[in-house]
Symmetry: C2
Subunit: 427 residues, 2 copies
């Protein structure tokens, strides 16, 4: 690498935090290098719609090179960070190493099986495009396999879907599977009755959507029940295998035959948290997130910032901020502005998350929203959810394509992207 | 299976031949069972646009259950045919067996490496969605890998693309790779110059597009040259490995370093041809196709029809009909009508292919078309190509989505679907 006149800002991860940091550095006199393993930014809030055959992967993925095409001070490197050398200010990549003056780590989180890693192949989680395609394959293959036999001859649990974890992702997945059953089964599958299908949403806490007000969580649960989803609160999963799931409620363990299990129960921060802890002494929380300073840097390392799901920022509320896109986006923008002010020799103020509200979609035509104390539920919350997510899609073309497909699905109830692809597409 | 009152027509394969046969049987008093390994009909003529990051897989795939939703006399079974028992009139599937009164075999063809099966992983062909995603991954990963290094340090052949086979698919792929280079390289990749890239189209015959009039083939070659593709006629590939390709021209063998090789050279009919030969004595041609009777049945087996790429129909011109969608579609419709007339006790006439012309796309804004002797080249041929392919997309939603993406690409030159996905997405 040639020696630069301008400070070199290396950003690890092109998710919401990393991408917004790059874009906010556009007019700052620095050279930016964005490093990601993938060549696209993924709009994760819509990933469950890929997993349930509503949208195509490309509709929610924006090629980083297209997004940043006009930004002259940014370069993109498709590579994987394997280590960080804090003393020499180098990031170690699978393809070499790269020096930084400032480092922004925004590598996010991955789903986590609480020590039961063998569950991963049995109950896939939803973090990547590949995850979504695999979940899509499993859901639609279940219906295809069931259609081959009349009810009496089906293997037990063939049409049982268990979603583990009652946060927004679990609620979205459960609601979307119920929508598939209600919308398409009677037309498309002639040997399956709605009553053959069982959808369970399992949550360890006593209610779903624990980060939402109780009233909204109750409303979401009643929407789910109406759509045909049974919610099992205060229940933990004790075993998963090919033929079913064991669920513990109080002292009782129930065995439920099930062929399709989806995991939405826990996430764990990127392994770079551990790397940085070892080198800087920064503390990790239980979920593997790094405790950051009021300006999102690591203690004693004003040149290293950690943002998004990998950061635990306690200075605003005393609790971690939620692991959602708006937090990451605001943190990315904040760090860019801070660097700009630092270069200009100006003082900086601590990060402050501006909470504009929380929304979870429950199914076709229903959502719950908590807009700073104002609660909206049902159709209008759903429309608001669609609108907010649509305008936040990074590429205009995707907004058009997603809007058309949403409209199409809403009126026709067709899920056009329900392809079964991959290596095993028949049984 | 319960005994039916109405004759049971089993159709193997939901491609152009099989799907059009099912749809044309809608008002015929038979029960139709369509068996396919995949849950969608694939619009193969646009597959190269998925491979080159222009369209999404779902845009050119139509879920069979949606397409046939309103057809009461048709059932769909997601299964793989492994054998046929002609004497007992059963198809053996991976999930059991199914009886037929009439059998229509439309299982198509697969690419073929002329005895060099070890080339498959080195030079993928383009027949399935998975093939297209793999080719897309290889093309865009080549550019990403090249962007990491300045020219002098790049491994040899990093930006060399060799497309083997100068038929329509090879021409489309070569033209599309050239478009990628011309449209996006200078904007999106800052260390790659157009002059670093080499695109070769290798053809064993002395010219490309051998099924087209010489004049059109020459025109296509000159379009390709202008776009930056070198056409190597009268050349055969003698070796492919990780680092390059050996090409024989006359007595000279040239070794070309190359990291991305695509195969568009040959197809071989489905293995069910061999199964049927063994059981009925029907003859196979060199490409594994079954020689069929004037009514597309097998000799001595008026209850078995073979259509599409698996059939070799010599009765019209003395030569095989081309392996293209219009032939398969017309054959599917023909067999449906023949069955209808047979049931009604009417006489039948031999199949006759109505040739409406041939079109090949060469690149963005250029194509060649032979419309029954009228030759069109360039922009108008390209528009005609787009129009014909757009109206033939089975699902209306896909027509809308494809049209938008074509328009987008034409004016913006963005290939929005250029995701690198799969297991290996960095190096």
């Amino acid at each position: 690498m040639p020696v630069n006149q301008r400070p070199q800002v290396v950003i690890l991860g092109g998710g919401f935090g990393g991408l917004y940091a790059v874009q906010s550095l556009k007019y700052v006199p620095v050279d930016v290098i964005l490093i990601d393993r993938r060549n696209f930014h993924l709009f994760q809030p819509l990933l469950y719609q890929v997993a349930t055959g509503w949208l195509s992967p490309a509709n929610i993925a924006s090629t980083l090179r297209i997004v940043l095409r006009a930004q002259k001070n940014a370069r993109i490197l498709l590579a994987e960070a394997t280590d960080i050398d804090v003393n020499n200010r180098h990031v170690i990549l699978n393809i070499g190493k790269i020096p930084y003056d400032t480092l922004i780590v925004a590598t996010g989180s991955r789903h986590h099986y609480f020590g039961n890693d063998q569950w991963e192949s049995l109950a896939p989680g939803l973090k990547t495009i590949e995850d979504a395609i695999e979940i899509r394959r499993r859901i639609f293959l279940s219906f295809e396999a069931a259609e081959r036999e009349v009810s009496a001859q089906r293997s037990p649990g063939q049409l049982t879907f268990i979603i583990i974890g009652g946060g927004p992702t679990g609620v979205e997945l459960a609601g979307a599977v119920a929508d598939i059953v209600n919308d398409t089964l009677t037309n498309d599958f002639r040997r399956i009755n709605q009553s053959d299908v069982q959808i369970l949403l399992v949550e360890a806490a006593d209610r779903i959507l624990t980060t939402y007000p109780v009233e909204l969580a109750k409303k979401a649960e009643s929407f789910l029940n109406q759509a045909g989803v049974s919610v099992k609160g205060s229940s933990t999963v004790t075993a998963i295998d090919e033929s079913g799931v064991s669920i513990k409620y109080g002292e009782v363990i129930e065995r439920i035959p099930c062929r399709t299990v989806l995991w939405a129960a826990g996430v764990c921060a990127s392994f770079l948290g551990t790397v940085l802890t070892r080198q800087t002494g920064a503390k990790l929380d239980r979920s593997g997130r790094l405790l950051v300073e009021p300006d999102l840097s690591l203690r004693g390392h004003p040149e290293i910032f950690v943002i998004g799901d990998l950061a635990n920022y306690l200075h605003q509320t005393g609790h971690p901020l939620p692991g959602i896109a708006p937090v990451a986006m605001q943190q990315g923008r904040y760090v860019a502005r801070l660097l700009s002010r630092r270069i200009a020799g100006k003082t900086t103020i601590p990060f402050h998350y501006k909470d504009r509200g929380n929304m979870a979609i429950v199914g076709r035509g229903t959502a719950v929203a908590d807009l700073r104390g104002i609660h909206i539920t049902g159709f209008w919350a759903w429309l608001a959810w669609l609108f907010v997510h649509l305008i936040n899609l990074v590429v205009f073309e995707n907004r058009v394509l997603v809007l058309i497909q949403w409209g199409w699905y809403y009126f026709r109830r067709d899920r056009a992207a329900r392809l079964i692809t991959g290596d095993r597409y028949t049984r």
